[in-house]
Structures are given as structure tokens and as C-alpha cells.
């Protein structure tokens, strides 16, 4: 299922003195099976854009094509549920959405809203809880007794249990410890590969983009200012740094070496790549 933005603009509180135009003429495609990353400053409109992906917001101009459905400013608010089931969104700090008495019931809440019978939803809950790295002993506990990281996992499981075709992640690892972050990102990558889930990742962490994404959109002040594969986008280190967006650690390090006189055919994106390139250079390429 592709998601296609055509000339999408969005304004908060239109025709009022508090009017705020957040998105300007955005064209963007999330291809089926593609791991797409959205990067940009705080306030560049990423989170607003994300809410268009499952019709929580409707564009004030332009149209959004979500699979078979087209969302225009005139689209009625009814019958959007099928879209929401196909496009699951994990919002920033999703642990704040937990409310049920037990973890199992909270995870089953989403599927049940989409008509999955209770028994099946319970099975789904157990399955997805395992996917996010918690064992069955957590099923009957109250979500409010868990630690922050565990709550985050339960919340993510709640979205995964809806078995979405597209999974949107709005800074899913913000505030997690390095270990938890890595586990979580690996889990999403696994879902992407094994279950062929389309992923849209919103993040400030360029290392994650370099490690996992197939395609990147760079947003600034509500417009797409750059798009391409991470390899293409991250070659322009100076442009990105001028925009205060940064590049992956390995790329930044390689750029420093370039400044000192090293030459690379192409800047590396990951530390593995950097190491390989350095080995190739044999350490003697220094041309001073």
C-alpha cells in the first residue's frame, strides 16, 4: 500500500488570528515495503505530516492518497477506521496512551476496536508482547506498575497488535537507554524485513537513518528541501550541517579526515563501512 502526498498544505486554526501554516505544498511518497525516514528540525512539521498518514488530520489543500482511499479537504470524517487499522502510528512518548487494568487488555484494545473477537485479541496480545521483548508474566500486570521503558514496549505492542501494513514511528526511542534503543530499532528492522511492513520513521538520530532507512525526506519549515537515499543525502555534509541537521557519526568523522587531507570515493554512512574504507586506504593515503 503506497501513501502519496500531492501538493499537501496544512494550516492549524485557519481563518483565525491564531492561524498557523505548518505544511506547504508537500509532495512525498511512501512506497510499499520501503523504510522511509523523515528528518528535520523541531517545528519543521514532521509530526503534523505524520498525522496525515492515517487521516487524523486532513489537508487544508492538496490530497493524500492512502492505498485505495483519497483524503482531500472535503473528505468526510466517517469511515476512516479501515485506514487507521492499516496505518498504525506510534506517537512520541506512547506510554502516555496506556489506560487499561492489565497489559493484555491494553494491547488487545486496538484490535478489538477494529472488530477482532476478544479471544483472538488476547492471543494477539500475547504474541505482540513477545515481539517487543517482554515475556508472558507481564500480561496480567497493570501497565502503571511497569518501568518507563517497559511501558513504552507495551504501548508499541498495542499498535503492532493491530497488524498494520504501514507502521509510523514518531521518535520511538526518545528517552530510552542505549541498550533499549538498539533493541527497539532492531525489532522494527526485523518487522520490516520479515513481515514486510512499510515503516515511516521520524527521528533526530541520523545514525538510525543511516543504519536502517531506504529513503530520506528532509523537511524544513513545512517543505521538503531534500530527498533521496541516505547515501545521496548524507554526502552533502556541509549543507546538512549548515541546516544544523547533522550527519551520521561515521560520516562526520570521515568528513574530518577529508578536511585533514584524506580522500574517499564516497563518504561512509556506518562505522562498519568507515572501518572497511580505512582498511582499504591502508592508512597510507595521507598525501602530505
Amino acid at each position: 500500500m503506497d501513501i502519496r502526498f500531492e501538493k499537501v498544505s496544512f494550516t492549524y486554526q485557519p481563518n483565525s488570528p491564531f492561524e498557523q501554516r505548518v505544511l506547504h505544498d508537500i509532495d512525498l511518497v511512501v512506497k510499499e515495503g520501503c523504510y522511509t525516514a523523515l528528518v528535520g528540525h523541531t517545528g519543521s512539521g514532521k509530526s503534523t505530516l505524520v498525522q496525515h498518514l492515517n487521516a487524523l488530520l486532513k489537508p487544508t489543500a492538496g490530497k493524500v492518497q492512502i492505498g485505495e482511499r483519497t483524503i482531500t479537504p472535503e473528505t468526510n470524517n466517517k469511515n476512516l477506521k479501515p485506514i487507521r487499522q492499516k496505518v498504525g502510528i506510534v506517537f512520541q512518548f506512547p506510554e502516555s496512551q496506556l489506560f487499561e487494568e492489565t497489559v493484555a487488555r491494553d494491547i488487545a484494545f486496538g484490535p478489538q476496536n477494529f472488530g477482532v473477537p476478544e479471544e483472538e485479541a488476547k492471543v494477539l496480545a500475547a504474541k505482540t508482547l513477545k515481539m517487543v521483548g517482554l515475556d508472558e508474566s507481564y500480561l496480567e500486570r497493570s501497565p502503571f506498575d511497569l518501568s518507563g521503558g517497559q511501558m513504552r514496549r507495551v504501548a508499541i505492542a498495542g499498535v503492532l497488535a493491530m497488524e498494520p501494513e504501514v507502521l509510523v514511528l514518531d521518535e520511538p526511542t526518545a528517552g530510552l537507554d542505549p541498550q533499549g534503543r538498539k533493541e527497539m530499532m532492531e525489532m522494527f528492522a526485523r518487522l520490516h524485513k520479515e513481515n514486510n511492513i512499510t515503516i515511516v520513521l521520524v527521528t533526530h538520530l541520523m545514525d538510525d537513518v543511516a543504519d536502517y532507512a531506504d529513503f530520506v525526506y528532509v523537511l524544513e519549515k513545512g517543505t521538503v528541501v531534500k530527498q533521496g537515499t541516505p547515501r545521496d543525502v548524507f554526502q552533502e555534509v556541509e549543507w546538512l550541517q549548515a541546516k544544523q541537521l547533522g550527519v551520521p557519526t561515521a560520516t562526520a568523522f570521515a568528513q574530518k579526515l577529508v578536511d585533514k587531507g584524506f580522500t574517499f570515493n564516497q563518504l561512509p554512512l556506518t562505522s562498519t563501512e568507515l572501518a572497511e574504507m580505512l582498511v582499504e586506504l591502508g592508512g597510507f593515503a595521507h598525501d602530505e
Partner: protein, 265 residues
């Protein structure tokens, strides 16, 4: 939904009304609401109306704002006016059907009540549009001070008030966020029958309460860590300044009362 509510919002600006001392504005607004009940004929209402429009004009805020302040309450106003119009007896009877009747007094009362509502809303909208919430809570604290000897916990009330005001926008954002998250999980807010609607609110209310508890806990800890021990012995950072123009405002209202007493029946 909440964006439409103008009443209770602050609109930064630099007009004469904006620069007035919040105490003067608060007292004047309450006083205005009190004396509006003195008006009892057409001329007195016209006079008050003209005065209100003058105040609104002084604030240099677009008039459309004030009209929008009335909008959410328009049904309440019309309902009250309708009750007055159809159920007041006295004077010449124009039309009668069962308990309903259209009389001279009824029409007059209806018109007056309509004016009262609109003028009160205009004035209170003017107060909130031109005064930052924190300045208002400072003013309330100051004005409550005489109650202190009567064992009224003035400092605590004003602290709670300013914290509450500070967190209104934060909680609104939070509400919006949780609503969106639950909608993404397939909740339909505001659809179905009354019971379904009420059930749909649970996934919103519980997280909101929980996060409020957590927030309160964090805030209390942070306040203690910064040496807060209660109201005694604290100095003030924001100090209110009473100036000549504030005295003039109060005097204007005294003159207003005098004129009103003269032209009313």
C-alpha cells in the same frame, strides 16, 4: 473544538487597556457586571452599550474577536431570552397561545436580557484578551489579601490558581495528543449513542488523570528542591504598579454609575 473558545484567551498587545494594572481591570470588570443590573430603560442600555464599545475600541482588538466570544454562548442566550419573551406577563398582549404569550413587557425584558448577556461577555472577553493569566492571578491574590486575617489561605489559593492557569494549555495539548493516539488505535470520539460516547472517553480520561498525578508529583518535588516552603517569608518577583491611569479608570466608573443613576427610571 477548543480552538474556537475565545473567552479566557490572552492576546498580546500594547494598547491603553493592555497597559492598565490588572487589579484595576479586574475590579472594573466586576463592577461593570454589578452596575449593568442598574440599567432598566432603553437609554441606560444604550449608554452602557456605547461605553462598552468605547472600551473595546480602546483595546485596538479586532471587533470580530468579541463577536466570536459571544458565539459559543449564543444558544444559552437565545434560550434565556426566549423564556423571558414567551413567559413574561404584563403590559399590552400582542399574541397568546396556551401558556405562551407575547407581551410588551416580555419583549422589553427579552431585549434587556440579551443586552446584558452581550455586554457582560464583551467586557469579560476584553478583560481576558488584554490581561495575561498570571497577571490576573496576581491581581486576585492582591484583592483577596484582606481576607487573610479571616484564616483564608490566600497564598495557597493564588498559588493553585497560577499553577492551574499555567497548565491549562499544557493539559489541552496533552488531551489532543492522547486523543490522537487513541483515534489511531480505532477509538471514535463523539460517535454512536450516548453510552458509546461516554465509553469512548475512558481511554482519554484515565491517561489524562494518570499524567496529571505524575506531573503534580514531579512539580512538587521540583518545587521542594528549589526551596519552596510555603508562602511565609517569600518575596515577589512580579510587582504590580498602580498608576494615575488606573485611578482614572476607577473614577470613570464612578462617573458612569452617577450618569446611570440619573438616566434610569
Amino acid at each position: 473544538m477548543m480552538n474556537k473558545l475565545i473567552l479566557g484567551r490572552y492576546l498580546p498587545g500594547d494598547s491603553l487597556v493592555h497597559r492598565l494594572d490588572p487589579r484595576a481591570k479586574l475590579v472594573a470588570s466586576f463592577y461593570f457586571i454589578a452596575i449593568i443590573f442598574l440599567a432598566n430603560n432603553l437609554w441606560s442600555y444604550l449608554f452602557l452599550g456605547a461605553f462598552t464599545l468605547f472600551c473595546l475600541w480602546l483595546s485596538k482588538i479586532d471587533f470580530g474577536f468579541f463577536l466570536r466570544g459571544v458565539k459559543p454562548l449564543i444558544w444559552l442566550i437565545l434560550f434565556t431570552v426566549a423564556l423571558q419573551v414567551f413567559f413574561t406577563s404584563g403590559g399590552e398582549v400582542y399574541w397568546k397561545w396556551g401558556v405562551f404569550q407575547l407581551t410588551e413587557f416580555g419583549l422589553k425584558n427579552g431585549l434587556f436580557i440579551f443586552c446584558r448577556f452581550v455586554l457582560i461577555i464583551f467586557m469579560s472577553t476584553l478583560l481576558t484578551l488584554t490581561t495575561p493569566p498570571l497577571a490576573l492571578s496576581d491581581a486576585i491574590e492582591y484583592l483577596l489579601r484582606p481576607l487573610k486575617p479571616l484564616k483564608v489561605p490566600v497564598h495557597e489559593i493564588s498559588l493553585m490558581l497560577s499553577i492551574a492557569l499555567r497548565f491549562v494549555p499544557t493539559l489541552m495539548d496533552e488531551t489532543e495528543k492522547i486523543m490522537n493516539a487513541q483515534r489511531a488505535r480505532g477509538v471514535d470520539f463523539g460517535e454512536g449513542n450516548l453510552i458509546q460516547k461516554m465509553k469512548a472517553v475512558i481511554p482519554l480520561l484515565i491517561p489524562l488523570f494518570v499524567s496529571s498525578f505524575n506531573r503534580a508529583d514531579d512539580l512538587a518535588t521540583a518545587m521542594e528542591a528549589r526551596g519552596y516552603q510555603g508562602g511565609d517569608g517569600r518575596t515577589k518577583y512580579r510587582i504590580l504598579h498602580w498608576s494615575t491611569k488606573d485611578t482614572i479608570v476607577i473614577l470613570t466608573f464612578a462617573v458612569l454609575t452617577a450618569v446611570l443613576m440619573y438616566i434610569r427610571n
